[in-house]
């Protein structure tokens, strides 16, 4: 499996995700934002961080960068795309995923471990997890408050395109365990074809028991052929 991690100026989780991929024996390449073509990739990861300083709006400048044109082309050809945190914001800014990520409801950065629930395993990303499996994940963001219009929300639900929701340790999803105010506790979503996943939690931070846990390992290993 060939993977590419896109590196923007200000990306800061690029190394972390590359290490997670390499641990699982992806053949990974780092791709600098000024490149105008992509190496052969089965998976493209847009990592977390503060691309272009998050100036203007999180992900806004990266969403219009040269390399993103290539990512869009690859996505349309069915390549797997994973956007984590700032990567999720970039995917929405680029129009590859619908909806927006607003400032966290309490207007503060949130960096902590939270419980999330796998909503559907009927896709390439979560096939190694059980439906409703609870994953302890780290979040670290200023703008993770997912919002979309009612029609799109309905489509997300009807087509089973919600990937992850924030929940409590028992799997209940309600206001008390919604860290950032996101619509219906949404933590991650797919596009219609389910080859693109955007998520706020950081699976690359959950691949090592010495540091945290291994709840993120299966997300990467699910993608291996």
């Amino acid at each position: 499996m060939n993977s590419s991690v896109i590196v923007f100026p200000g990306s800061n989780c690029d190394r972390d995700v590359a290490i997670a991929l390499e641990k699982l024996e992806f053949k990974n390449k780092m791709v600098w934002h000024k490149e105008t073509s992509l190496p052969k990739s089965d998976l493209i990861v847009i990592p977390g961080g503060f691309s272009y300083g998050d100036y203007l709006r999180s992900g806004a400048i990266a969403g219009k960068s040269n390399i993103l044109n290539e990512v869009i082309k690859a996505a349309n050809n069915g390549c797997l795309i994973l956007g984590i945190c700032n990567g999720f914001q970039i995917l929405t800014e680029a129009g590859l995923l619908k909806g927006v990520l607003l400032r966290n409801q309490k207007l503060k950065f949130i960096g902590k471990d939270v419980s999330t629930k796998v909503i559907t395993n009927d896709n390439r990303f979560f096939k190694k997890y059980a439906n409703e499996q609870i994953l302890k994940m780290n979040i670290a963001h200023n703008e993770g408050n997912y919002y979309t219009d009612q029609d799109h929300l309905k489509a997300l639900e009807d087509k089973n395109l919600i990937a992850l929701k924030y929940c409590d340790e028992k799997g209940n999803t309600n206001k008390e365990n919604n860290p950032n105010g996101s619509l219906n506790n949404i933590a991650g979503i797919f596009n219609d074809k389910k080859n693109i996943l955007g998520m706020m939690p950081h699976p690359e931070r959950m691949v090592d028991n010495v540091i945290s846990n291994r709840d993120g390992v299966n997300l990467f290993s699910s993608l291996l052929n």
Partner: protein, 726 residues
Amino acid sequence: MKITDSIIEKHGLKLDEYTKIKDLLKREPNLLELGIFSAMWNEHCSYKSSRIHLKNLPTKGINVIQGPGENAGVIDIGDNDAIIFKIESHNHPSYIEPYQGAATGVGGILRDVFTMGARPIALLNSIHFGSPDHFKTKSLLNGVVSGIGGYGNCIGIPTVAGETKFNSTYNENILVNAMAVGHAKKDKIFYSKAKGLNKSVVYVGSKTGRDGIHGASMASAEFDENSEKKKPTVQVGDPFTEKLLMEACLELMKDNSIISIQDMGAAGLTSSSVEMASKGELGMELDLEKVPCREENMSPYEMMLSESQERMLIILEDEKEKEAKKIFEKWDLDFVVIGKTTNTNNLTLKYKNKLVGEIPIDALASKAPMYNRKWEKTNLPEKKINIKDLKKVKLEDALLKILSSSNQSNKNWITEQYDQMVMCDTAQKSGTDAAVIRIHNKEKAIAVTVDSSANYCKAHPLTGGKQIVCESWRNLISVGAKPIAITNCLNFGNPENPKIMGEFAECILGIAEACEFLDFPVVSGNVSLYNGTNKKSIFPTPVIGGVGLIKNTKNKINHSLKKEGNIIIQVGKTFGHLYQSVFFDEIHSIKEGPPPEVNLTNEKNNGETILKLLEKNLLFSVHDVSAGGMLLSLAEMSLSSNLGLKIERPKELSNIMEYYFGEDQGRYLIEIEKKNTDVIQKILKENNIFNEIVANVQKDYFEVVGELKIKINDLYNINNKWYYNY
């Protein structure tokens, strides 16, 4: 322009200092030169009041690669790995503009660390605010925490530990100290000492603007004519640019292009060029027209004194310019050769082909004033209180009041605004005695902590100085680390007051004595004097940043309880010292009396014995006993787990408050399996360490038999309520 007494004064220089400048130059300086002298001779850059005392600190040891005097200190942790670290204050700017002040404090200390070739791996902070009731405290707290988080989160270095304290002494002068820790290869460390003649001096990073030009210099005659161009004296931080600068520098450092490198921190281009030349015993010539400027018509004076952030000065090897420039262009950063090294031993400044300033380097560095200011000793205060005369309180009421106080309540609401996990090597986060950061791709880890005890230092500076070093040492031991070295940030009041100068001198003596005894040298640091307002100085607040080594990250330990049925042993003896304690302060508002005594022999022995017990895998958790005494430490062990404790009252007890809230030093609480009690007590006895069984781990309840019994969940809510009500 004629230099008048008023211009001299506005530059923060004394008239006798000006006379000395004329003697050194053998003429009158021009305004640019005067500005440069003022920047180099101020307290912050010259350490003129403190240098004489700083010499007392032990700075050498088998693990020390570089002590104070460089951008940061460097220690050896084996296998060609080095740790580079330093703490620095940003107190005054943070009070004026809390967000930017704190943010640039973080940015500045990070540059000190990556300048030396290290990739930063952890950020820490010690922040002190005035009373929570003071009208400014809330907004300052908010701004500082957001600023620290804003910078660290964006640049992608985890903020892993810190302390936040409130005391009315900081009402008009908060403290913001930031510490950065980096990892480098021992054979790839970069220094600021210039070498070689006619080498290119390169300016890299952000452009120079009018921000941060020395406050005292702002009001000079030249500025008055253009007053509309005045900008705030607080620098503005851009963590995004710093991230690019860091990556570009680390990329350039992979080969051998750099002869020396220095960040432009306080006093910007002036101090960086002088420092490099001074260390190399060379001269330096700068062509100021080439300095990349953000604004139009900047004068040489402004360029030399600007404190714009995210800039570096590099001296390059011959013929390396082209490759180096390519790297900085890749990262969209300025890269301009602005000068060269010379053999004149002067700082030579040219602008538009004219000589605009020329000053001997040594006049700015080694010949800067040094004062041996008058200082007074602080006598050990007497113990005048008989605890039996105090109003009676219930143990439960006292504990709950302390747990819900501003200083002792849970600080998760702060640390949750920081990204603690980025870089994926944070093995233990804040909320523990020390954070644990794994060395990337290795088994080993470092432990890091910041500590201060201003109340103790105010009461008796000599004892207080010793105590904080010991506290730092204990915190490192408590996570399973072997303490290696410290950095210190010395926050004090006005040194021209002999009482304050005495606090400084004696705190240093205390720190020095403890460091010497514990073989825990000082490798870097920073002095911040004149903290105070209207002649009212803050409490002496030295802050110690400690670093220790854990051979295998898996061997880290924390203070959360692990297993029902285990027992808790207290290592070290309780005498019941309540003066300067949290109990006296919070419950009886008593602020008098001496701090607890520090016995360095016991401290060392107890700590080393804990490490031996850890090596034998006999301990389930460890916690040091510090502010708040044994009962607060026990409560913290419970609060960080879902387990309770059953604490048995000793049969003979002269006073229950002294026993549970006394702040006697050198103590630890350890959680062990019951069956190992004899083995462990035997080891402790062999090492002449007093110990006693104090509690059993139980489900659900935190209990002192016959005194209190509280559900863990309720205890947790009480510990968290202060912030939610604030």
